[in-house]
Subunit: 335 residues, 2 copies
């Protein structure tokens, strides 16, 4: 295992220590137990709806890197690939609550869902208003007729962005939730994996991808995809990804405008992400769609997995306006 | 070779096609021959010194991703790990020249230096004023008493930032060059490699790092480092990197304020970059230094190399002010 770590059982705490050193001017934290990170707010900031997320570690910059202006207010931090407990979500809700309610926007996984629900019950006992939307963009994780079972992957970032813009503009909790839900419904993603990832405490991959092969539809924790095939050209892989997403959108997306997000999974060179952007965007254009904006970089990763997640968000004027609203994710590299 | 590419001989053009799809609203390009990318400027933008860089591909987001406000105006794009030709640099100089002179700020490698010099001679024949500064931050690439031979690695990004701020504030060419040179003189970097990288057209690594080992002082193209050793803890590796840099700074950096940049080399999970930030920053603090700001992310990469580059920039008030000047690198992921 070629990794820059100390004790493999302690990677989350060791990472958080570094995160606080790097971003300490913009966050405050309770990282003992439970682990929660809060964005600092100015004392004169107007009260508004709070945004909370959280999930397992190993997806950096998600989740904690999306703290920031116009984005998340508090993040519950779990162990590698494992949900934070209810107490962490509760603390995040408390920290984000400025009296205008809290939107808890997270990925649709059993553990996260259960723990968020428990946290909400406790928060409601304290008189807090909390509503949720689950990202469920991974089309490979369940069929379309069971779309409510789909997992949330990189597409959740776009939901934080649109919901964060509504909150920053002073929207109500209902308005924030409505936009988050609308965004989730119009976001679809699919991943390809070229190598497995290794949880440091495990020390070896819990699945394999043979050299010369790739896995289509792999999940953000290595969940089995739809098929394994001999590695093809970027062009062919891009075409297959776009075709799968468009088929899932169905006829209501004919001639649609899309935001396109290409996220590396942790060990994918940016050169290859840009290289894939070309056939992806060209395939969409060829089929009569418009690419309004595209995002390229490591937005949500899977430890050291080599591969890529392609996300499409079908746009309308409101979503475009919200995506254009200024935001600053502190975990995205800047200068 | 597990890569998302088409023809291995064509990765640069394929990447540029994607780059232009993603960032086409902010750049214009001549990517046939020579390959040059220009940031778009508003017609009403005041004339100011132009900033040019360039180098081999495979280091994305460098060099082309540092086009943007407060940063580079034009970038010459070479083949993978190989310098752009003089014509590319000449075109970049022409495109960046608004009559106030051009600063060409690039990494100290034989090929780049030769080609830039030829370009400058041709540009001067056209009556243009061009001055250069070479980044030479890699302390492992030559001893301190031959520091002028050192290569430029990730530290060059900070030079673009400070020089770009002077240019954006309306500084003269002499002032831009003075700050770039001052920044270069006070920037030192060292890398560790945990895996080799593979040039797609070659198809296999041109060097190896045995499993369970790491290479201290490796260059951005796999240039041999100072030693290969059994892989140690992040803490010990961080301590060794900080010690090497501080020793090279010498006594004039006692109690100094530093900007710290931790750049992944292409296949390094962000989790591990944050994890390394903790012992790096703590080692500096323990030795009486102040970390004024730190940067974490893939700033300059080496294709699919797993490893990390640590850069320290010794600060003064002027550099801090320049590093705080707003800038927007279009190749850094944003929302």
């Amino acid at each position: 295992m070629q990794r820059l770590i100390n004790d493999p059982d302690n990677v989350v705490d060791d990472m958080l220590r570094g995160f606080l050193h790097v971003h300490g001017d913009r966050v405050q934290a309770s990282i003992a137990n439970p682990r929660v990170i809060f964005g600092k707010r100015g004392a004169d900031e107007p009260a508004r709806v709070g945004l909370v997320s959280g999930g397992g570690s190993g997806h950096e910059p998600a989740f904690l890197g999306y703290l920031g202006e116009g984005l998340l207010d508090a993040v519950a931090v779990g162990e590698v690939f494992s949900s934070p407990g209810p107490t962490a979500f509760l603390e995040a809700i408390r920290g984000a609550d400025r009296g205008n309610g809290v939107a808890c926007l997270f990925g649709n996984y059993a553990g996260d869902s259960m723990n968020v629900q428990m946290a909400i019950r406790l928060a409601e006992d304290e008189g807090r208003r909390v509503a949720i939307v689950k990202a469920r963009d991974d089309i490979a994780s369940a069929p379309k007729n069971a779309a409510e079972k789909r997992h949330g992957i990189a597409g959740g970032v776009l939901m934080w962005k649109t919901a964060g813009a509504v909150a920053a503009r002073g929207g109500t909790l209902d308005e924030v939730i409505a936009v988050a839900e609308h965004t989730a419904q119009h976001t679809r993603s699919v991943c390809v994996g070229l190598s497995p990832c290794t949880i440091p405490a495990v020390g070896k991959p819990n699945f394999t991808i043979d050299a010369g092969h790739y896995e289509f539809g792999i999940g953000h924790h290595g969940e089995a995809g739809q098929y394994v095939a001999p590695l093809e050209s970027a062009q062919k892989i891009a075409d297959a990804m776009v075709a799968a997403l468009l088929e899932d959108f169905g006829p209501q997306a004919a001639g649609a405008e899309f935001a396109v997000m290409i996220s590396g999974l942790g060990a994918t060179p940016l050169m290859e992400q840009y290289l894939m952007a070309a056939p992806v965007i060209e395939a969409l254009q060829r089929q009569g769609h418009t690419v309004w904006r595209s995002y390229t970089g490591d937005y949500v990763t899977s430890l050291d997995m080599n591969g890529l997640c392609l996300t499409l968000l079908q746009l309308d004027d409101n979503l475009k306006s919200l995506l254009s609203f200024p935001a600053s994710a502190l975990g995205l590299a800047s200068l």
